[in-house]
C-alpha cells in the first residue's frame, strides 16, 4: 500500500542521525518531528530565528512571540537559542544546519528542485527555500510521487521554475525511496506492497534499479 503523509514522515525520520541539526519545511516535513526515536538527539532549527524548537504548546500556553517558519505557535526545549534572521541564515548558508527536509512540486534527475512557483497562478514567494536548498549538505524531499492529475513529479528535467540546482540527495514518496546519484535516480526501497512496475509507471525519469529492491521498514 502506498504510504500516507505520516508514514512518509516516519520513513524520513529514519534518516536522522544522532547530534544532527535539522530544518523541517512546511507540510509533510513538519510531521517528521513526531517520529524521532527517543535515543537520538536532534535539534530543530526554524529559519525565523529559533534553535531547539519543541512541540506545539498546550492550549492556553500559546505565545505570539514564539512561532515557527510556518507561523505556528511553538515551544522551546532546554538548551534552545533565539536569534535574528541574518544569524539564522548564517547557520543555513554556512552549512551548520546539516539536514533540510522539504516538500517539492518536481525533482529532476540531476537533483534540481521546483517548489515555489506555478506560472499563471498566484506566486506567494520562495520564503527561505532558496537559501535552504542552496546550502544544506543533505537535502531530503518529502512528497507524493505524482500530482493530483496522476502525473509524475520525478522528472528528467523540471518543467516549473526551479528553486535550486543539483541539491536534492534523497526523495521519500508515497511509493518509494529514491537517491539522486551522478547517473540519475536510483531506486532504494519500495513502499510496503508496492510493485516495481507501479513505481516505474509513476516515474517519468529513468530509474536505476540494481538487484532486489527491498520494502521499506516502518
Amino acid at each position: 500500500m502506498a504510504l500516507d503523509k505520516n508514514q512518509i514522515a516516519q520513513r524520513i525520520a529514519q534518516e536522522l542521525d544522532h547530534n544532527m541539526y535539522v530544518n523541517l519545511g512546511i507540510g509533510i516535513p513538519t510531521l517528521v518531528a513526531n517520529y524521532i526515536p527517543k535515543d537520538v538527539d536532534i535539534e530543530f532549527q526554524s529559519e525565523n530565528g529559533v534553535l531547539g524548537m519543541g512541540p506545539f504548546p498546550l492550549e492556553g500556553a500559546e505565545d505570539p512571540d514564539l512561532i515557527n517558519a510556518g507561523k505556528q505557535t511553538i515551544t522551546t526545549m532546554p538548551g534552545a537559542a533565539l536569534f535574528d534572521s541574518a544569524t539564522s541564515f548564517a547557520m543555513i548558508r554556512g552549512r551548520h544546519v546539516q539536514l533540510t527536509v522539504l516538500g517539492a512540486m518536481e525533482v529532476s534527475e540531476n537533483g534540481d528542485i521546483a517548489n515555489w512557483k506555478i506560472p499563471g497562478k498566484m506566486v506567494k514567494g520562495m520564503g527561505g527555500a532558496m537559501d535552504l536548498v542552496a546550502s544544506a549538505d543533505n537535502i531530503i524531499v518529502a512528497m507524493m510521487h505524482t500530482n493530483r492529475q496522476g502525473e509524475s513529479k520525478i522528472l528528467k528535467k523540471c518543467r516549473l521554475p526551479i528553486t535550486g540546482v543539483n541539491c536534492v540527495k534523497k526523495i521519500v514518496t508515497n511509493l518509494a525511496v529514491l537517491e539522486v546519484t551522478k547517473n540519475g535516480f536510483k531506486l532504494l526501497e519500495r513502499a510496503p506492497g508496492i510493485r516495481l512496475e507501479e513505481i516505474i509507471k509513476a516515474t517519468e525519469a529513468e530509474l536505476i534499479i540494481e538487484g532486489e529492491i527491498p520494502e521499506m521498514i516502518l
Binding site: 512561532i67 505556528q72 534572521s85 506566486v123
Partner: protein, 233 residues
C-alpha cells in the same frame, strides 16, 4: 547619553512622505511595529516601496496600507496571506519583488553595515539570478546581491531604553535588528520603555546607535496567525 525618546506617534513619524522606501520588521504578524503601521495607514502618503518579509493579512499589519493602496511596490520573501494583496498584484497595480528570505535578511544587514554587495549561493540557477553576476568560489556558483537601505525603518522590540537600546523577545526578533541597522531614520516602538541604565549593556540586541527615535507603543494586539496547540495528556 543621547536621548531618542519621542512622546507620540506623530513625532515618531515626522518626515514620512509619499514615494519613500520603508522597512518593516516582523515575520508574519510576529514582531511587527503595530502602532507605526496603524498610524501610517491613516496618513495621506502613497506610492510607497515597502521592504518586509511578509505583507500582513487583510485587516492587520501591512494589509492596512494595502487597503488604502498606499503601497506601490513590495519587496518580500513570502506574501499573499491577503486577498487584497493578491487582487492588486494580479491586476498589476502592485509591483512585487520576491527575494530569498536569507538574502533579504543579509541585504538589510549589509545596508546597515556599509557593505554594498556580497556573494551568496541562494538563488543561483533560478530566476532570482537573472541579470546578476555569477562567480564560482570553491567550485560552487554564487550570485552577487546588493545592500538594501530605507528612508525609514520601523521596528518593534520588547523592551527599550531612552538611549535607543533594544531587546527583543522570542522569535519576534526576526528581521527587526537588521532593518534597524538599515534605516536612515529608524523608529523603534517598544512594549516597555525604561530609562537609560536599566537594561544590562551585555544583553542589548540592537545598540541605540542604530535607532533615531524610540516610542512607547500605545497598545499591542499581537495577533496569532496560526494558533497551533497539542492536546493536554
Amino acid at each position: 547619553m543621547i536621548n531618542k525618546v519621542v512622546n507620540n506617534i506623530d513625532s515618531a513619524l515626522k518626515g514620512v512622505e509619499s514615494k519613500m522606501t520603508f522597512m518593516f520588521g516582523g515575520f508574519g504578524l510576529s514582531g511587527i511595529p503595530e502602532n507605526s503601521i496603524a498610524a501610517l495607514s491613516k496618513k495621506d502618503i502613497f506610492g510607497l516601496t515597502c521592504i518586509s518579509n511578509n505583507a500582513g493579512v487583510d485587516d492587520f499589519g501591512l494589509g492596512l496600507l494595502l487597503q488604502r493602496k498606499q503601497i506601490k511596490k513590495m519587496i518580500s520573501s513570502y506574501v499573499g496571506e491577503n486577498t487584497e494583496f493578491e487582487r492588486q498584484m494580479l491586476s498589476g497595480t502592485l509591483e512585487v519583488d520576491l527575494i530569498p528570505q536569507g538574502s533579504l535578511a543579509e541585504r538589510c544587514r549589509a545596508g546597515g553595515a556599509g557593505i554594498p554587495a556580497f556573494f551568496t549561493p541562494a538563488g543561483y540557477g533560478t530566476e532570482v539570478a537573472e541579470g546578476k553576476e555569477v562567480r564560482e568560489f570553491n567550485g560552487k556558483p554564487h550570485i552577487l546581491e546588493s545592500a538594501l537601505t530605507a528612508d525609514f525603518a520601523f521596528v518593534k522590540a520588547w523592551r527599550g531604553d531612552s538611549a535607543g537600546n533594544l531587546i527583543y523577545k522570542g522569535t519576534a526578533r526576526n528581521f527587526n535588528p537588521l532593518m534597524a541597522m538599515a534605516g536612515k531614520i529608524t523608529v523603534a516602538e517598544v512594549e516597555e520603555l525604561v530609562p537609560a541604565g536599566e537594561l544590562d549593556p551585555n544583553q542589548i540586541h540592537t545598540p541605540g546607535i542604530f535607532v533615531q527615535r524610540i516610542l512607547q507603543g500605545e497598545k499591542y494586539e499581537k495577533r496569532i496567525e496560526q494558533r497551533t496547540v497539542r492536546p493536554r495528556e
